[in-house]
Symmetry: C2
Subunit: 271 residues, 2 copies
Amino acid sequence: MACAAEHRDQPSATPPPAGNPLTSKLLHFAPLSNSDRQHLDRLAAPEERFPASVDIIAEGMVPRSVFLLKEGMAMRYRNMPDGGRQIMTFLIPGDLCDMHVFLLKEMDHSIGTITPVRVAPISRESLMDLFASRPRISAALWWSSMQEEAMLRERIVSLGRRDARGRVAYLLCELLWRHRAVGLTNGEVFRLPLTQTELGDTLGLTPVHINRVLKEFRQRSLISMDRRMMSLLNVEELQALAGFNKDYLHLGGTSPEVTRYFDGLEANLKR
Amino acid sequence: MACAAEHRDQPSATPPPAGNPLTSKLLHFAPLSNSDRQHLDRLAAPEERFPASVDIIAEGMVPRSVFLLKEGMAMRYRNMPDGGRQIMTFLIPGDLCDMHVFLLKEMDHSIGTITPVRVAPISRESLMDLFASRPRISAALWWSSMQEEAMLRERIVSLGRRDARGRVAYLLCELLWRHRAVGLTNGEVFRLPLTQTELGDTLGLTPVHINRVLKEFRQRSLISMDRRMMSLLNVEELQALAGFNKDYLHLGGTSPEVTRYFDGLEANLKR
DNA sequence: CGCCTACTTGAATTCATTCAAACGCCGTGG
DNA sequence: CCACGGCGTTTGAATGAATTCAAGTAGGCG
């Protein structure tokens, strides 16, 4: 029953569709006016490309602008003195590369591409302008960064308390929901262009062990993989294996109270 | 040479002293006017107490206000279905309990006390007011939350890529610097009221293994412990063991560019 | 004094790593 | 067309770091 739906599906919560993945994601937080959506589209219009396996920004550098990832996959990672590497998070379409820009002197980690990517550079000025003039978008971006923080905490839980199977299962579930939130799933299928080495570097495991876990999952018909497309054949059991609960992604939006507050700000500006 | 300096020492960077630990911390980011400092002192004035080992907020709850921790130690943690527990971060004086309040519907983790604590509750309103009227403080708080995020990423690196010794050493170094930043160290000595079980729940290790690592550190004269006071006798070697580099704490403040920007906002408001 | 919690230590076990080798796929170039 | 590498994956066997189980010690407190 899970194999392949024919159409892209909407995130299960409530959110309308949107061509812009960032818009799709932010709609999980709160509704946005047409004007807000247009603003986001303008923001996403500029385009720059990077090939696979290059750094967009490296540790120690001072980033000059934020990047909105429009297509492809990237990662935040850090190289270890002993030659190892730890991948902290994956960036998928709709994710912003670095809000840190504004406040921190230099990057404490690197951002590198996994596949070729298309990004929209966003200057400091236009972001500041956005903060000043679009309270609802600003709030949604803030929410989005809270969500990212929550994902970091969950990763800590994974690495600290789950065994290899649980870690892999958890990551797969998280990526499924994240892709759903930006409209990039097809049933339980999504693009996963990661090597087993990269999975290992993410989950604190060796590539060979990742291999064994994936093999087991395939044999138990929990997943199937074909030319970088990952299908979760039994999400129920994967979630159970991982102790996964999607609440931490906060896809349900915010409270009416908060919405009202930002509507108030919005109204204020109009005058 | 490391055992016990006679006075509280200042964080090595540049920051002036301050009775208020939050102020001390924020001064690492940028200078604050007397008026700003007074504002922070007013915020920190209200007082509420919690005993040790209770939840200030539990997973699933909707927090009603932010808490500024003034004294004692607390933790963000999450209980696992199998009875286990993962501690995500420790909260020390100067830390704010939950900025998430405003945007997320409910807590995805709990905050519990470790020791008895004194906190200053801060209402949503006074925080919103602060954001509107105190750009420099707001920026500093934002910086502080970037710092927290960086610490989460570092924890991921620890759990993913460091062995037990490295993890313990890393945590000790981090806590030393964090305590320094709020003026709560005495040379290389600081209060560490954690049980070995709590350390284990933080670092993804069993208490017995924590015990063995600490024993080794004591035997190698890297640390000494006495009635909950932790002395790092050989910070150099601990940092080497952990591959520790304090840059991720961003204690060096921000760029002049950013400072100028917020000074501009400040000036704007004055009119 | 007795109890509870935290700490300590030893021995057996296990999950994941390390080392090693082979396989398949794919693009390049002879 | 096939040979050649390179990279990612797959599999086996030996090793090892940390866990589990178990039992004993030490310290704080009613």
